[in-house]
């Protein structure tokens, strides 16, 4: 029984680590945001004309950067913890 509990705890912490999908999304979008914003800053007139005069790279770059930062901020403010046992109701099936 004690051994089972230990395994369970280990699994929860593994799950908690993995829960950091926010870090993955945040990280990728920050990188994308920086790249696309930089492209946007140096866009030639031809590229702006292609996009009907919209500086789309600049705007989308900034937008993605902000989204990425928001995900990272969320992670910062609400870091992953092992799920609270009370959060898991009795209907939770055994994992196997």
């Amino acid at each position: 029984m004690a051994e089972n509990d230990q395994v369970d705890e280990k699994k929860l912490s593994a799950a908690a680590r993995l829960f950091d999908v926010r870090r993955v999304i945040g990280g990728l979008f920050v990188v994308y945001g920086v790249i696309v914003t930089l492209i946007g800053l140096f866009d030639s007139q031809a590229e702006i004309d292609k996009a009907e005069g919209v500086r789309i790279n600049l705007w989308m770059g900034i937008g993605m950067l902000v989204l990425g930062l928001l995900f990272l901020l969320w992670l910062r403010l609400n870091p992953p913890e092992p799920p609270d046992p009370s959060d898991i109701d009795e209907d939770r099936p055994p994992s196997h």
């Binding site: 280990k10 699994k11 799950a15 993995l18 990728l28 994992s95």
Partner: protein
């Protein structure tokens, strides 16, 4: 769906676009490796250890559906049928997703089954289980092949790669990340893909709208174009099927699309249901499809609207073959409007969406193969490690067979028709069997088997009759609607008829599987069970349905 192999459509990606693409796939593989360290048991691999929060599984749920057919197909439909395409999103998805969350999920999640076929085994009997497990496995690898083929066509048409190289490269990437990371990895990537796809489609929509003078300008151009006023309304011209571009009347839309096809797809498709089964608790599982309904309401803004933009800006769109097919609406707009930079994002998003579709098929396949075929009938009672290993091999097998079916799919003229056929063959009878079996406890085990089998055969018979011209329909769409309808009615009638001649299961064996017997938390107690409204599936579901109705008003 078919882009001509000799397509002249080419997107000129520069070094930064490729950098964006490479970063994405690097991240996807990184997630696979990270997920691998966390996998300890076969339940971790197949159901993510049932530990994921509802917003993750909810976005994965909608993303698993945001595959090849969804993006290119719905933009194509938008260009061809106008705003009537909105029915596929609103009446054709949201009510079924809410129904799945509120009514059906307690049975799926609460009965502790690991798959939809396993539910059938417990509710009915082994023959029903085997029939469904095998037909599901076959359907999944067939659809995986279609997704792989579509992915390869895009690589071929956009990047200039050879078709067979594209198929193998796409398969290799999908295989790597599912085998390594299991369902967690697939689900995490689906969430990531969701944002990348949107980041690709949003600039396309914005620039497109600027080009045509905003929504008003777009509608004005549609009104004056060949589609005309009828393409700008969803319901008001559906009194007769002749008055609207879709060629369907409101009864067909409401019952064919909104009931049989939609409920069949959303509530019994294990590739979708599996996302909810991996949620951390019953409430999160029930909220999964309901949370997914909210993005689903808005996605037509970046698929149907670009389709309409393509219809009015690209002259000659709608050709039978070559570059100007409706299916190319999105790639053509990308070629036309997107500068390098956002172009890289859009190409990445598109490729990601095909992989999301294929990954969903393959992870659904490997679970059913391992639990429902291998463990149940071939090698019973082995260790958990053993089944984990079998699951990994099943993934490899599924992808390899998928490569084969991708080449089969490449022989078909229209993949959309092929897919719709699969749905009307497999999902419509399954839904009928489910719905009767869940709400009528007397329905017997053999009634389950015969209704599933005869429903399938009825739909197959109609399809063969259509192929051999014994029966004619206006379109393949109409045929698949009738196929689904016939399958549904046959399955219901057979279920009732056979029940009268065969013995029922005792109530005790059905507890938690059938409505009204107790044994699990069913829909009745939940309204008071949740303290905060935004976690209450019933409240959230009601909001989703009301929003769908409200969204219809301006485009009535």
């Amino acid at each position: 769906m078919v882009l001509a192999a000799e397509s002249g459509l080419r997107l000129d990606l520069d070094i930064f676009d490729y950098l964006i693409l490479v970063l994405y796939f690097g991240t996807v593989l990184g997630v696979g490796f990270a997920a691998r360290r966390a996998i300890k048991t076969s339940a971790d691999f197949f159901l993510s250890g049932r530990s994921l929060p509802a917003w993750v599984t909810g976005l994965a749920f909608v993303s698993a559906n945001l595959g090849a057919l969804e993006i290119l197909g719905m933009a194509a439909n938008g260009a061809q049928y106008g705003l009537l395409t909105l029915h596929y999103y609103w009446i054709g998805a949201v009510p079924a997703m809410v129904f799945l969350g509120i009514v059906m999920m307690p049975f799926y999640y609460g009965s502790k089954v690991r798959s939809v076929p396993e539910f059938l085994k417990r509710r009915f009997n082994k023959p029903t289980h085997i029939f469904n497990a095998i037909s599901f496995a076959v359907a999944q690898v067939l659809i995986a092949g279609v997704n792989l083929f579509a992915l390869a066509l895009i690589l071929d048409a956009l990047l200039g790669w050879q078709l067979w190289v594209s198929i193998l490269v796409g398969a290799a990437i999908v295989l790597t990340y599912i085998t390594i990371g299991g369902l967690s990895s697939a689900i995490y990537n689906e969430v990531l893909q969701f944002f990348v796809i949107l980041a690709g489609l949003i600039p396309l929509t914005i620039i497109g709208l600027v080009k045509v003078g905003g929504i008003d300008g777009l509608f004005e151009k549609v009104r004056q174009g060949p589609l005309g006023e009828a393409a700008l309304h969803t319901w008001s011209n559906t009194g007769s099927s002749a008055d609207n571009p879709l060629g369907a009347n409101w009864i067909g839309i409401l019952f064919g699309l909104g009931f049989v096809l939609s409920f069949g797809y959303w509530t019994t498709n294990f590739a979708e249901v599996q996302r909810a089964l991996s949620a951390k608790n019953m409430n999160a599982a029930r909220r999964t499809p309901i949370i997914a309904a909210f993005p689903k309401l808005l996605i037509p803004g970046v698929t149907v609207i670009p389709g309409l933009i393509a219809a009015v800006t690209i002259t000659g769109l709608g050709a039978k073959e070559g570059d100007l097919q409706f299916n190319n609406a999105i790639p053509l707009l990308m070629e036309d409007l997107l500068p390098n930079g956002v172009l890289g994002i859009a190409v990445t998003g598109l490729l990601a969406s095909f992989m999301a579709g294929m990954a969903a098929n393959v992870s659904g396949f490997n679970t059913v193969f391992t639990y429902d075929i291998w463990q149940a009938y071939i090698k019973k009672g082995r260790s958990d490690d053993y089944y984990l290993r079998i699951g990994r091999w099943a993934t490899v097998g599924g992808v390899i067979v998928g490569i084969g079916t991708a080449f089969i799919a490449s022989g078909y003229g229209n993949i959309m028709e092929y897919i719709q056929q699969l749905f009307s063959l497999f999902n419509a009878p399954l839904f009928a069997t489910f719905i009767v079996g869940m709400f009528w406890k007397r329905m017997t085990p053999w009634a389950g088997f015969w209704s599933l089998l005869l429903g399938f055969l009825a739909s197959l018979t109609l399809y063969v009759a259509y192929l051999t011209d014994a029966i004619t329909f206006n379109s393949a769409l109409e045929q698949s609607f009738w196929g689904a309808g016939v399958a549904f009615v046959t399955a219901v009638v057979v279920a009732i008829a056979v029940t009268f001649f065969t013995p029922s299961k005792p109530d005790d064996e059905l507890r938690g599987l059938v409505y009204g017997l107790g044994g699990t938390s069913n829909g009745t107690v939940v309204v008071s069970g949740e303290k905060v409204w935004w976690r209450n599936p019933v409240v959230l579901g009601t909001i989703a349905v009301v929003l769908a109705l409200l969204l219809y008003i301006p485009v009535w």
